[in-house]
């Protein structure tokens, strides 16, 4: 299924300066029972966001109306743990199109790229700058340019480049997915399968 194209995103950002945010926090397992991909945003960070009686926890950042935007900024080692793509779906469904961190867990990063959420890995120093800028002004705008592979704090003009492989970049710019690519080379795959030893 093709997904939204990603080009340049300019938005304020939601800060979550916690390290090792695992996918069980992003979406707890008890919310993985759907057979369709919808509604996961409601349970994004469920147990950090809501009390057991379903009232919002007022100190959690998603419940603080001064923080909003399409960019989520997380601490080091974001998305560790379970391979559940539901975590990436929840991030997307809530309205985020980009996650920024100084380090991502592999599977979460892959899952994001596969559904059109851009994971942007920055240096720890630049991550601190972003957190500081948002703390000083929650409306701070951040610009993520996929064509240029840069992330910029617009107020200060501070900028850093980020890495993404050419193939995935092209996919995200055009909203293509891997299955389209694989289906196009199905003949090669079938020929390959004939000669596998197992």
């Amino acid at each position: 299924m093709a997904y939204d194209k990603f080009n340049i995103l300019k938005s304020s950002a939601v800060p979550l300066p916690i390290e090792n945010v695992d996918t069980d926090q992003i979406i707890p397992a008890r919310f993985l029972k759907a057979t369709e991909r919808k509604g996961f945003g409601d349970n994004l960070f469920r147990d950090w966001r809501y009390n057991p009686d379903n009232t919002p926890k007022e100190h959690f950042v998603l419940n603080n109306p001064i923080y909003k935007g399409k960019i989520l900024v997380g601490g080091k080692n974001f998305g560790s743990g379970s391979s559940r793509e539901h975590a990436a779906w929840a991030v997307y469904d809530y309205g985020f199109r980009c996650v920024v961190s100084s380090f991502f867990a592999d599977i979460f990063r892959n899952n994001c790229l596969n559904i059109g959420v851009l994971p942007v890995q920055v240096s720890p120093e630049f991550l601190d700058k972003i957190f500081t800028a948002i703390e000083a002004n929650p409306d701070t705008e951040i610009e993520v340019s996929l064509p240029e592979q840069t992330i910029t704090i617009l107020e200060s003009g501070e900028s850093e480049s980020f890495a993404i492989n050419d193939y995935k970049k092209e996919n995200m710019l055009n909203g293509f997915d891997d299955i389209d690519y694989l289906l196009n080379i199905k003949n090669n795959i079938e020929a390959f399968a004939q000669n596998t030893p197992l």
Binding site: Q25, K33, S82, N111, N114
Partner: protein, 521 residues
Amino acid sequence: MCQLFVLYTKYCCFISCSKSKFKLNIVISAPNHYVYFFHILNLPSYILLFTVMSKTLFDKVWDSHVVQHIENGPDVLFIDRHLVHEVTSPVAFLGLKNRSIKVLYPERTFATADHNTPTLNQHLPVKDKLSANQLKALEENSKAHSIPYWGLGHEKNGIVHVIGPENGITVPGATIVCGDSHTSTHGAFGAIAFGIGTSEVEMVLSTQCIMQPKPKSMRINVNGTLNKAVTPKDVALFIISKLTTSGATGYFVEYAGDVFRNMSMEGRMTVCNLSIEMGARGGMIAPDEKTFDYIKGREYAPKGAAWDKAMTYWETLYSEDDASFDKELTFEASEIEPMITYGTNPGMGMGIKNDIPRAETLEGGAATYQKSLAYMNFNEGDAMIGKPIDFVFLGSCTNGRIEDFRAFASIIKGRRKADNVTAWLVPGSHRVEEAIKDEGILDILHESGFELREPGCSACLAMNDDKIPAGKYAVSTSNRNFEGRQGPGARTLLASPLVAAAAAVTGKVTDPRELMELETV
């Protein structure tokens, strides 16, 4: 006349003949180099050196599965075996339906129900409607695509990473994926096995391939002899405590050294299972006689001529002596003690007799560390020994195999379950359950006041009713101690089956060595 010789050894000599000329050439090559030797008649000899890395075990398996390499992009990797469960597959099947395509190789695909299933009264309809719906979806999808489905009650049913090896689906040199991060378990057989997301499940169902850049390689050596009461789980928790939960991110790990060579297949599975907890995509161990003996005769294992052919391939599966890794770490077995975790990620583990480290002694953010201890209601400097516990969970794809139940039984035999402890003992599969009965372990459990439940993932991720209540402490043989992992507000202490058993009979964190009989010298 031109002769080209390609050599692949450290030291070599060969003789080249042309017309009446006879010449002995001795070439000493550097490690990791192919030597191309040109000898052209009546001209000086030319020696060209090209740097070509000798292959690691991982390289051999990965490279032989690359259908296509995309420049500055991923490899298209062919997948030999695809394991499917009810939670991460329905949206993938929906994708196939939307594209009007069928599963390309149903014979390479196997489905089981495990994540969502109850561990009591499996013969009755599943009460939770959403769970029942997911199970029904998997059954229908499997049927529509001619995939073998081992649902609740089926003799082959169990946790996906337990039944793969049990049925001979897991074999050396294979690429194995599943929409579950603990797919790394299957690396114990020398397979490349790792967890994937649902988009990738859809890719594998529809094309038997995924697209991923080749990870970097890491080798972790543990040499020497393990201390008393130190199990494979302790070895893994020890390594994770040294590397942290992101220390191996971007890498595929090979485990090498005496400790893994001497380990049973079950133990190797426990170690490889936990690779993901240090961020690695997967972990693997070169296959040996122990591996081949385990596989031989199992239902889906190759047989007859196919076995001989497979063995020819499998015997090539090791890292060359001069292969190099992007990172290599070595530990001594004697350093490792029975382990326990005290925080909210698997890297927060230590020897069971140690005190909880103080924030200032650790790298990383103090705020995150203190948040973690606050969740656990522990203090820096606390001893873990003696802390009261409420629940014990023995099971999961990490420690739900027969060897784990044997270990648990060895401690509880002749003792009673502590009154303040609720124990959930959940076999990894029906086969494990049968073995527990056949070996008399069930009798030992009953005599000590324990009950055995039915197979499934259970309290490892608490998708079913097996939830640890908020604020309660569970000594758990599973793989994750994340906040709320075993139920909202639950507090998890990860440990081996021996430590879990010691806690189950004493009602508190206890060093299992205190309960073990003194070894006769």
